[in-house]
Amino acid sequence: MIPALLVFAYLGVVLYIGIFAFRHARPSDHEAEDYFLAGRALGPLVFLLSLFGTNMTAFTILGSAGHAFANGVVTFGLMASSSAFVIPLTLFFVGTRVWALGRRYGFMTSVQMFRDRWECAHIGTVIFAVQAALLVPYIIIGVMGGGTALRAISGGFIPFWLGGAVVALVVMSYVFFGGMRGTAWVNTFQTILFLSFGATALVVIGRGLGGFPAAIQSLRDTADLAPLLTRERFSPLTFFSYTFIPLSTIAFPHITIFCLTARRMAQFRRTVIFYPLCILAIWLPCVFLGVAANAMQDAPRIAQKLEARRVLAAAPASLPVDERAALRRLASGDDVVPIMLERYAPLWLAGILGAGIMAAVMASDSQILALSTMFTEDVFAFYGGKTRFGEHVQVQTGRAFVVVLTLIAYAVAMQAPQGIFDLAVQYAFSGYAALSVLFFAALFWKRSTKWGALAVALWTAFAVVYTATTPGALAWFGLMPVVPMTLIAAVLMIIVSLATPPPSAETLRRY
């Protein structure tokens, strides 16, 4: 119960930070810019930590360790080091330009930039619809993650529905009151917690395991676990395919919008330099702990997982689907870090580290705010709402949207099985990677046209639905679907743009 109380104290602090930010917001002539973009005035440290925190989800701590538990050391190269290179590079080349254009022309969303760059109206709405549809599963997963994490940390005392409701209410409250400023401050606080989490967990668990060299040696001595220390079970082509996934980051609406919040462009300098180091500090301990958990065969819950994995590996193809799914659930390693903490950390430390896990789970805040910003700017304001009702009503509409979206996400999260949304998130990553073509074309290729952009948006929507519903679709030559999805999007942009008239010279001069 002590860890759960500490997590509730953490939620209280988060709520206070959000509302504190609201109370310190100064009256402004640009009310919408102030609420949705923190007045484009975030300082260097808050910008770096909150941008990083915004991109870290429940997967970072729980999922990465779980993936490493099942797949071994490959997880780090697969997801972390490729991101450490590609994400800062896209922030350097795309993020800085988005920031400069936003500053100059007042853009608050990427769709506003696309509409101006390609002189289009409804094609922008299509891009909005695709971006928004791909983001919704993340928000639902966030609510589910909150319920699961709080239930696990309280040892089952807090039921899933209550945990999900508490987390959704806290997130909704500070997004509602604090807007981008509150969200950025909360994310900064959460990132500091993440960063402390990795190192502390590594030291505490390392001691509990009797030192890591002994744990690694025991894995090497066990025939079916030794391959976890190499990548021999993993295809190099799949490993290569994963380097396309981080392209998705710059196309995520919450990341693009976050790029617009920096006070000065110089803030991108530190962000791109420190981003790879933050990834290293968080992912390396989590992946290593996930692998090392395989050595805890004396822990009943770990032993149960290992046994389920062995049964699954030896199971005949004729094994019924529901039995296979049950074995997969049993073998899943998403909770190995909490299990290790429960076993080796003192109660008070397990509570603080539990708060670190909650910080990762609550990443849906910026996604909710981003959808609200997109709805009010790309739909409400664009179709005349702002002109008719004014900026104050626009901000209140954004706040109402936050409440409605959270309630819908909670209702869906309580009804639907998580597997569906896990799958949707998986394919949404590939979708956003394909949408990154829009940013490169808009910013670096003057000949690109609105019809090329429409072709990319429609292809992305089709490809995500197709790959999610058809097993093996677009997995050509052993590559993951993200590679053909992104390359075909680029080819479509080139061919369709060359076949259609470019925007006016006046518009091109400004880009």
Partner: protein, 78 residues
């Protein structure tokens, strides 16, 4: 292409290629600190190399022309 731009394109391409470390694919050793398998310490160093490349990029190829754009000038329209 300016020599500095060529250098950065080459460095970025090389770093991207170095991500595919086939030479460590089936090897656990050499272990770092007696417990960190090669796939982990190599990609840990890879992150440090990425940070170094970003530091060099920001020092020598920073897009100053964007920074000096009029921040809230006449072009601002919405």
């Amino acid at each position: 292409m300016r020599p500095i731009a060529f250098l950065f394109v080459f460095a970025s391409g090389a770093l991207y290629a170095l991500h595919q470390d086939y030479w460590f694919w089936r090897r656990v050793e050499p272990l770092a600190f007696g417990f960190l398998p090669s796939a982990l310490w190599y990609h840990g160093l890879y992150c440090l190399a990425a940070a170094l490349l970003m530091w060099t990029l920001t020092r020598t190829a920073w897009p100053h022309h964007l920074e000096h754009d009029d921040p809230r000038g006449e072009d601002r329209r919405r």
